[in-house]
Symmetry: C2
DNA sequence: ATATAATATCTGATATATCAGATATCAAAT
DNA sequence: ATTTGATATCTGATATATCAGATATTATAT
């Protein structure tokens, strides 16, 4: 059996640069609302806190800025954007489109050997779904999507998806906490799997897009519900 | 008639930071192929050349990196993306997907005023198509697509398309050289226009994706033909 | 001549220092 | 009490210095 783990990126990443580490940390903190909307992210303060200089920190902030999670006003400061959810949603629309083409390309290009790997993963997903093992399932789902974008054999799309796929990580867990969502997620993944194996590119793309966009809606709804409660 | 120009962003930019200026300069230089694919962009050298320090330069490079225009390898260097540039086809798959969602979002969000602008552009396109004015038509086509991704009101997708868009600037011209292609192009644009105005999001996305993927095929074919001739 | 190891050099990554705009503070004037 | 303006202070923007990996070079051994 192949190894499934949530942090594939630990491997083969020789000395992750500080800016990348900090970027991840800040992003996680913002998405998990440790830093709330409007919070002032002070360069010096954070640098001191993390025990680094301001240079890599600044680079991390730049990236967050481009993704819309923070807003920087010259010589005033960098602040957590007022509407993070909007940024996340924006990025997820892009993700749905990109993972959609990836599924199409995978359907067009997948080899017999790769079908085997994808099948194996799907079998595992069924088992863990029935066992309601959410933890393992999250890892497997991630693996499933990664296999597909790998088999698409399109480097640009692969990189682009890699850059943004983590944006719903904090929500994914929440989404899978509902039992019916667990089952539904598997059904969708299985349908995508079938379409790719059948080399039905149109269907594969359509299903993948629908799958991701539905999760966007799901996240939006649960957020709205959380907001209404407070 | 409305004015068509590429630099609306000149207005209202108080004290543009050095990093922004440098970012634009580098981007322009890459797109105009002053810096060819694979070219090594050396931080110190460029900083000296521009008469600035490496800090803002580094920030500009980071941004270009995220957009995929350059690739940075730790402690080796930053290079103008070559593998990506080479496979215009790879990148265009992404473009079709992203412009597709953009069309969907535009259909969902477009306002009456924006419909007016889009209509005006479409009218112009018809006129220039009938007049077989290829030069103007290229500009208008670009404008048409830009309006749509603007009306999508999704900053992330907008940026991503703009970045991709810049890659195939050179070869787009080729696609419109054939007369029947001219006419066909207009028909497709018009259909997309109608779908958006009718707020038929599904159709708008589908048509846009089809439109772009067909031009990918068209360019591939003419490329192959040109190769066979040589 | 080729392979290999020592080393010099180039380059990005990071740290630190300085500059300048923006805001806050507070005193003087009305 | 309110306004105004001088000034102190905070903060991001930029510049410069240092660190460390990667590559090229050269010398040495076989």
């Amino acid at each position: 059996m192949m190894s499934i783990h949530g942090h594939e990126e630990d491997i083969a990443l020789q000395t992750r640069s500080i800016r990348d580490v900090i970027y991840e940390k800040l992003k996680e903190a913002i998405l998990s609302e440790q830093y709330k909307a409007g919070h002032h992210l002070k360069e010096r303060e954070l640098a001191k806190q993390f025990g680094i200089s301001t240079t890599p920190l600044k680079e991390a902030l730049r990236r967050l800025e481009q993704e819309g999670l923070v807003t920087t006003s010259a010589r005033r400061g960098t602040f957590v954007s007022s509407d993070i959810m909007n940024s996340v949603e924006e990025i997820n629309w892009a993700r749905s489109a990109l993972e959609g083409v990836a599924a199409r390309l995978a359907a067009l290009k997948i080899t017999d050997e790769e079908v085997g790997m994808l099948t194996e993963t799907t079998v595992q997903m069924r088992i863990y779904t029935e066992a309601k093992n959410t933890e393992q399932l999250i890892a497997l789902n991630g693996h499933f999507h990664k296999l597909i974008r790998t088999y698409a054999k399109n480097n640009y799309i692969f990189q682009q998806i890699e850059a943004i796929h983590s944006f719903d990580r904090s929500f994914r867990k929440k989404a899978l906490s509902h039992e019916d969502e667990l089952e539904r997620g598997f059904q969708e993944h299985y349908a995508i799997y079938q379409a790719i194996v059948a080399k039905d590119a149109d269907l594969a793309e359509k299903l993948m897009i629908g799958h991701i966009r539905r999760t966007i809606e799901f996240v939006k709804e649960s957020k709205a519900a959380a907001k209404a409660k407070s």
